[in-house]
Amino acid sequence: MYSLIHLNRSLMRISKSVLQAVAVAVTVTALATACTDSAVGPNGEKTTKNKTVDPCPACGMG
């Protein structure tokens, strides 16, 4: 009983269009090609002027 209530409150639903765009970016265009000067994103928009998108450092510098 508790679990169902709790899960419903916590749910984070991402819109399908955003998920599809992320999926296309990481599986089809792959970020490696999505970041040259002439690259386009999943919706046809220009992405970034840089040569590589990843990897990201974030934490883990220990």
């Binding site: 984070m12 992320v22 450092p57």
Partner: protein
């Protein structure tokens, strides 16, 4: 009833996003932690990524985690000024539930090089840290917190870390990230019981918990065990899951539990599946224990009124010592040479207490500094 959100560290990284995508699709990820300052190499952020971040932002499920601010650098730098300006801009664009940074100062010759290393725990460094936290809060206008550091030079330093963090965050009515893998490193490297370390932290100020994996270093501790390092490149150890189950009931104001892993460690399908498995295990622990928490007061960690002092606090002597230490850690050929260089430096016979540093941890500090001296390449 308090909600605790099962979260992932989510950044603009192919392999992290590939690993996270099935969890997003299953609506398992309840919040994301974005290291907003890791995009310094990019002219602009892809729209699809800002759309993803915006989704979490609009649902109040976005938290920000800085990497490069170098909280305890003795000298105020243009890089820090730019970092704050960027944070202020992003805070106007996204709803961060809170902003956090790491303890320590960054070794390395410029703003995006080096790794966080500890500092002497003194009234002077306490004042410096408070000054920097106030500037971060000025920029983001939301709750601000600090993460416990994995690396320690000595067992004495481990014993003081929790209290020092508590005093620091007082300046901003702030909170603490309790990184359980960082504590796992200390449990292993210094032979201390987890429960004993946990008692040293102000657990009522823990708003966020991190779990992750790490690696074993060839350097040996006195117990002839390899040193544990917080490298985020492996699955979560069983012991860290056990720590999580023990810690949650003791942290009444916990709101986010975050799984972290480097994208470079998520290149294979097997590693991505393992990441997803770790997340689901984490989530099951969170869900099984969250119901025992009481509601968290809405303004428990609310920003304090009043701006930081117009002039950033600086400590030239500390900065000089930090530069010397960075140079020693990055260039010494071995521990003996590093010891000799430290004995000849401004770090000798003062609050750094280099004379008490465990040799195996000095060797580890050298490995960390040398690994990251050229930045993330």
């Amino acid at each position: 009833m308090a909600e605790i959100y099962s979260s992932i560290a989510c950044n603009l990284d192919t392999h992290i996003l590939q690993a996270a995508l099935p969890l997003f699709e299953q609506e398992k990820v309840e919040a994301i932690e974005w290291s907003f300052d890791t995009l310094y190499k990019f002219g602009e952020i892809p729209t699809w990524f800002t759309d993803l971040v915006s989704e979490f932002s609009s649902h109040h499920r976005l938290i920000g985690h800085g990497v490069y601010f170098s909280l305890f650098s003795g000298k105020w730098s243009p890089g820090q000024e730019e970092w704050l300006a960027r944070l202020k801009k992003l805070s106007a664009e996204f709803n961060f539930e809170h902003i956090t940074e790491h303890f320590g100062f960054m070794t390395g010759e410029d703003f995006h090089k080096g790794a966080p290393i500890s500092i002497p725990l003194t009234p002077a460094t306490l004042a410096l840290g408070k000054d920097r936290l106030q500037r971060i809060q000025d920029a983001c206008q939301c709750p601000v917190g600090l993460e416990n550091l994995a690396f320690s030079y000595s067992i004495e330093e481990v014993s003081k870390h929790g209290t020092f963090l508590d005093q620091l965050v007082e300046a901003v009515n702030g909170f603490i990230i309790l990184d359980l893998h960082n504590i796992y490193c200390q449990v292993h490297n210094f032979g201390i019981d987890f429960a004993d370390i946990l008692r040293l932290y102000p657990l009522n100020k823990v708003r966020e918990i991190h779990i992750s994996g790490g690696s074993w270093d060839d350097t040996l501790t006195p117990a002839r065990k390899p040193v544990r390092r917080d490298t985020h490149d492996e699955s979560v150890p069983e012991a860290v899951f056990e720590f999580l189950a023990k810690a949650i009931p003791q942290c009444p104001n916990l709101k986010f539990v975050v799984l972290e892993q480097m994208g470079t460690a998520l290149e294979t399908q097997a590693s991505q599946v393992a990441f997803q498995s770790d997340f689901l295990r984490m989530d099951s622990i969170v869900k099984s224990l969250a119901r025992k928490s009481l509601p968290i007061p809405a303004h428990l960690f609310a920003p304090l009124a009043g701006p930081a002092h117009p002039v950033p606090l600086e400590d030239p002597d500390l900065y000089k010592q930090q530069m010397q230490l960075s140079h020693i850690l990055e260039t010494a050929a071995n521990v003996s040479e590093a010891h000799a260089m430290l004995r000849a430096s401004d770090l000798r016979n003062n609050a750094w207490e280099v004379e008490n540093w465990a040799p195996y941890m000095l060797e580890t500090a050298m490995a960390i500094a040398q690994k990251w001296k050229n930045g993330f390449v």
